[in-house]
Amino acid sequence: MRGATQARWAACAVAVALAATACGGGDDSGGGGADGIVSSSWGDPQNPLEPANTNEVQGGKVLDMIFRGLKQYDPKTGEAKNMLAEKIETTDSQNFTVTVKDGWTFSNGEKVTAASFVDAWNYGAALKNNQKNAFFFTQIDGYDKAHPESGTASTDKLSGLKVVDDKTFTVKLSQKFSLWPDTLGYPAFAPLPKAFFTDHDAWLAKPVGNGPYRIDKYAKGSAMNLRKWDEYPGGDKAQNGGIDLKVYTDNNTAYTDLTAGNLDLVDDVPASQLKNVKSDLGDRYINTPAGIIQTLAFPFYEAGWDTPKAAKVRQGLSMAINRQQITDQIFQKTRTPASDWTSPVLGEEGGFKKGLCGPACEYDKAAAKKLIDDNGGIPGGQLKISYNADTGSHKEWVDAVCNSINNVMGNNRACVGSPVGTFADFRSQVSQQKLTSAWRAGWQMDYPLIQNFLQPVYYTNASSNDGKWSDKKFDDLVDKANAETDKAKAVSTFQEAEKVMVEQMPVIPLWYQNGSAGYSDRIENVALNPFSVPVYDQIKVK
């Protein structure tokens, strides 16, 4: 009898436990509820939250909400429109005069002036401040003095920036760049209040900006509560009461919370849930193009890969990849087979050209094998594709790409995946040129310009040209395009440069990535902008 009693007691303990948990909760976290607050999933930002120091999506999301810069990218078309800029004028594509609109303040009441921009940019560029996005200011004259490649900086001010009066400042670039004003929508160019410089630690603990939201509470690493800023002077006022960002240890848990009605918005549907997402959410699932392209990169510092024959081999490898099948089956159509080196979010006018790559990016078994075999086979005898195994489920598609290539070559060992434990280790191998065969690469645009898809990644010695590809003809065309004052002409010259890439195939374009998100039936008017970040300020609570 005693045994039975004790068993019953244990059962009761569990029951009590369950009941207690059931009673718990119902506080401010969870599904929002009051005053039109939207709860959304978040990841822990990797770097301190400063405009020029934030280079990943999670921190970028917050900056998007609390800052407005000179320009703002249209959430639908990606077009750069004036926000705080009254006008940006130039006669020679090199010297610009920027006039800042009147009537803008930071949420602490401080006025936004020309100096707010100049100070912020100087801070971002100065070497001593360790800002990871400092290279955004490379085009401004004097950057090499404030941020030399090695050694110490002789100054921490950019000589190309001059405040004329409260509303006006001038910018001198080190060379002509007609599309430069269109880059100013990037968060790194946001203005900063005086408080940022006078009490930096306090500012970092609770950043103050000039956007439609202000930060109400920030518990680092776990949650941030943003509330609508009522005095926001811009046209894009927040349509909801605020956003509660909640850090998730795993995006699967965020998705589970969404389906349980405990969360309003998940902006990264985990790959493992893509099969269920239609039945779980119906039309509350968004899958739209984002400014991200994924590619296979090659080491041009290795003699074997830097030959005219190897270029043909790369074309052959490109033709050996069945993009359509992989995007359909592995990615459940959240990727689109790539046929140029940009992204559909640019639009035709912005430089996206479907099919620019031509047959070199189309699956053709026979032609692929012939091209590779006729040109001496794969350098080193085997294609090894390195990837980081910790995030992003890269293993699956790398294996699929290899399968596709192996099928074409009729050899099970022609291509193998080569996993690297962590992203940091993977990046350090890439940047130290330790990889001797292909690796997964990708490019997420900083601003919706064709220039951004080409110059930083493929120009000789450019900041993200990890494979060290170098081609004089390509470089010349890029220079020519940048000097072009007519936008349409600049775009078509960039496309000329892209045609060089079809011949040389410095990286194999794989697919354009889509942004995916899911939301609860409590909210509506949810969309992703071209950067695959939700347009938070336009979300409405039913």
Partner: protein
């Protein structure tokens, strides 16, 4: 007794240095963490060099280790890459994980030992067989399966709990995660107790106690259980450290921002300051738990004496 404790404490010193050095080296061979800080883009060399200097990564490993240990003794555990002090991270993560561990331990003690006693006294009966099968199932199903299943059933289907724990992680929200975390150990505790009780049930002192006419409850609790607890206490003691460090899976599933989450982040970002700091504390917890277990032996069995 005093001398024994002092000797044990002194033994901890080399263990402490050895483990921290090992962790330090392991994180270091993983490569350059700065490379991962700039995303899919290369950090510009000047900034990277400056960051390396700031985190002391430009010095040889032995020097980094010495500086690090020197700082640790002044209570400075360094700074994580996102600019937060590691001590700050610890202050938020440890209380949550300690709560979770306590809940798990309570489950182990209450449910595990009770079931063990019941089955140990009733060997071969239906309840014994049932519990044996149940514990076998629990042991063989991985924690993440149990966790995801409970989350799906209780959280999504029946709506009894919230599928994820909120960021303050109050006690009541941690009960189910605690149960999940405890599940495997709980099954072991049950089995250990059962075997131990069954073995001792036929011992002379039990027969004597029964013959003296003591009530059965007193025989079981004061005589039989107390003598049978030594292996169980050993197991639970070592489990404290294992639960705290091994909560990664449970914490991930239920979105608990505890030690496991911070360690996981630290490893992904190759942030040696975070990883070494947290592991250092875990090592201390482990050592302390072991010492307490050893001291408890004497309480349970007075024949065990420490000189």
């Amino acid at each position: 007794m005093g001398r024994y404790v002092i000797r044990r404490l002194l033994q901890m010193i080399p263990v402490f240095f050895g483990t921290t050095l090992l962790i330090f080296l392991m994180v270091n061979v993983m490569g350059d963490p700065i490379a991962g800080l700039c995303g899919d883009r290369q950090c510009d060399p000047a900034t990277a060099a400056q960051l390396r200097a700031e985190f002391g990564l430009d010095k040889p490993v032995w020097q980094q280790y010495l500086t690090y240990m020197g700082n640790v003794f002044t209570g400075d555990f360094g700074t994580a890459f996102n600019g937060q002090k590691v001590t700050e991270l610890m202050a938020t993560a440890f209380p949550i994980t300690i709560r979770l561990t306590l809940i798990a331990i309570v489950f182990e003690i209450v449910i595990g030992i009770s079931l063990g006693v019941v089955t140990g006294l009733r060997r071969g009966r239906p309840i014994d067989t049932t519990v044996l099968i149940l514990t076998l199932v629990v042991i063989s199903v991985p924690t993440f399966v149990t966790g995801l299943l409970l989350q799906l059933l209780l959280g999504v289907e029946w709506g009894v709990i919230k599928p994820s724990v909120s960021s303050d992680a109050p006690w009541n929200e941690l009960i189910i995660p605690g149960l999940v975390l405890a599940s495997v150990s709980l099954a072991y505790v049950t089995r250990l107790t059962r075997t131990s009780i069954a073995e001792n049930a036929r011992a002379d002192y039990v027969r004597t106690a029964t013959a003296k006419g003591l009530p059965r409850r007193r025989v079981v609790v004061r005589h039989l259980l107390r003598n049978s607890l030594i292996p169980v206490v050993t197991f639970i003691g070592t489990d404290v450290g294992a639960l705290m460090g091994g909560a990664i899976v449970t914490e991930r599933i239920f979105n608990i921002h505890g030690v496991g989450f911070q360690l996981y982040q630290g490893i992904l970002r190759q942030n040696s300051q975070t990883v070494v700091g947290f592991v250092t504390i875990l090592v201390l917890v482990f050592l302390a738990a072991n010492l307490i277990v050893d001291l408890l032996y004497a309480v349970l069995d007075p024949r065990i004496r420490y000189a």
